[in-house]
Symmetry: C2
Subunit: 338 residues, 2 copies
């Protein structure tokens, strides 16, 4: 058994696109759990866009990652040592252990996973934080009704793909935005979106308008920037815009996109709702229902998901950089160990 | 009895601040009501900021006023002739008759007023469209809870003054923004606002921050522009921004104020809600309850209102111009006849 652990420590704060130099691979000793704690070995680590905000040093809804610490990230992990009666060696759990191969966690802060519900990696995607983001944001804020049109960007990602499929389940029309023909084809043929538009196309805004002939009733915002500007004029009266992310701007060092100059006028004249949210707002009230419902839909084949699994702890910085460029196709997961 | 009527016709569309030349005073013949109609003589005409949008020629939530027609406006009117059994000569009614001394109206489109509830002019202000705007926007969208801070601008106007008083009734802290010391003093001493800030002060943004030490939970937006920019950084997590108007920009010929460049980032990281609305959204469901509740609060002295009544039909264009500059002090009403 390994007695040294690896971790990526934040060496410096990225300016613009993160570089490999922003992260330093370190060997550390595997620590010993204190009473109430467990020692975890990471099997699958989740990489998510929100991490870009945490390493930027700007205080947002959460404290930034300190220089010298590992960036945050949920991991499906195995209990190696336990100092708490609630968990046993060999248990598979979910914990925010960050970018390291071994980590201590408080037993009460980890969630035991049941492989009978679904493959454990789904706890990082469709049945985890991204999935609940889609579920709560669409159903609690977006509230599509049958016949309405729901538009979502980054639509092959773990949030967007569930947003579109939930929209269909609720009887709405789902229009997805993604980068490149392979992804748009996947949205149409595999996920059953009614239409899919490539945001890299020169006539993207025209294609989006053509794909939404009745306007847009819900725009699930997770990218911002040029996509938002193309969506905005197409919003219908009483349209809802849940805002869960703005990934297109996370690497920006200064504002690259202006907001529509008539944004507030349109908010007024069209009675629009723009509503930001962080998924933890809904966690306690909705997680169990979400897991039960979406888990059932997965087993029935009504909801599909796609994972993009890359191998090896050392790949994390490059995989993360690719995530911010939209290079992943499905939920990005790093296989750290088996 | 007069047999000629007067009206102001829209002669040309204003560019920037309306001029007197945009309106043409005309003499017209008093028309005869057809079956189902009544002939009305205006007693009190309401002047409201939304009219600026209607005469601009830009289609918003309503069709623009055609050139040659009278701008819109509710008036407390007397029935002079009736061709409908539901209304009798001498009845006092509310109708959107526009800027004219006599008008025909469909009997089913007018609302009979009961002077026993409150003085009939309140149907133009605190118990009418502006009052319901405050009531619905604050209570349905803003939803202040005890201890929260509610900020409203144009706070001595018919919308803002009720917003602040309703906030107090709901146990929240009310902070008003108005132009000049006479108005801010009125907010504090007569209406019982907890604080009032003069937006003309050079250090307005600092004064506003000092008046909201716990941040802002509800900003009732009816002015936009510089006030919004000062309010925005003070919004708390989960703050709500009902948007019923943007009067500071209604005369702008091009965007004069930029939105905060990090607007969407703040919406996301603070889980803000920005929600436009037009009062008619809530009319059917809420008007009766609003009239009963606020009517009772007026009779109990819990809600006060102030009217700024100017005399004479000919004063309309100047009074309207003053309204857009914030020169009125209270609900602006033109006394057309007795």
């Amino acid at each position: 058994m390994t007695t040294t652990a690896q971790r990526f420590a934040l060496a410096s704060r990225p300016v613009g696109e993160p570089s490999r130099d922003n992260f330093r691979l370190e060997k550390i000793e595997v620590p010993e759990p204190a009473p109430g704690q467990v020692l975890l070995r990471a099997r699958y680590l989740s990489l998510d866009p929100y991490v870009r905000g945490r390493i930027s040093g700007v205080r947002s809804y959460a404290e930034p990652t300190p220089i010298g610490s590992a960036p945050p990230g949920d991991a499906v992990s195995v209990v190696i040592k336990s100092q708490d009666p609630s968990l046993s060696v060999g248990d598979v759990v979910l914990a925010d252990t960050g970018w390291q191969t071994y980590a201590l966690a408080e037993a009460r802060a980890v969630r035991k996973l049941d492989p009978a519900i679904a493959p454990v990696t789904t706890a990082l995607g469709v049945l985890g934080m991204p999935g609940l983001t889609a579920y709560s944001g669409l159903l609690t804020i977006g509230r599509p009704v049958p016949g309405e049109t729901v538009v979502v960007a980054a639509a092959t990602g773990p949030v967007g793909s569930l947003v579109g499929q939930l929209a269909k389940i609720k009887g709405a029309r789902a229009v997805g935005i993604a980068g490149g023909p392979e992804k748009t084809e996947y949205l149409r043929s595999t996920l059953g979106f009614d239409a899919a538009v490539d945001h890299r196309a020169a006539d993207f805004a025209d294609q989006l308008a053509a794909a939404t002939p009745g306007g847009i009733d819900v725009y699930f915002e997770n990218v911002g920037g040029a996509v938002f500007n193309a969506v905005f004029p197409l919003l219908n009266t009483y349209a809802r815009v849940p805002v869960c992310g703005l990934v297109s701007g996370y690497n920006d060092t200064e504002p690259r996109w202006s907001l529509p100059s008539d944004l507030m006028r349109q908010v007024l004249s069209k009675s629009l709702t723009i509503r930001g949210f962080i998924v933890f707002e809904f966690w306690v009230q909705q997680f169990d229902r979400f897991q039960a419902e979406v888990g059932e839909w997965i087993r029935e084949g009504k909801v599909r998901y796609r994972e993009d699994v890359v191998d090896g702890f050392e790949t994390i910085p490059d995989a993360f950089r690719g995530l911010l460029r939209g290079e992943n196709f499905g939920k990005l997961i790093v296989r750290v160990s088996d």
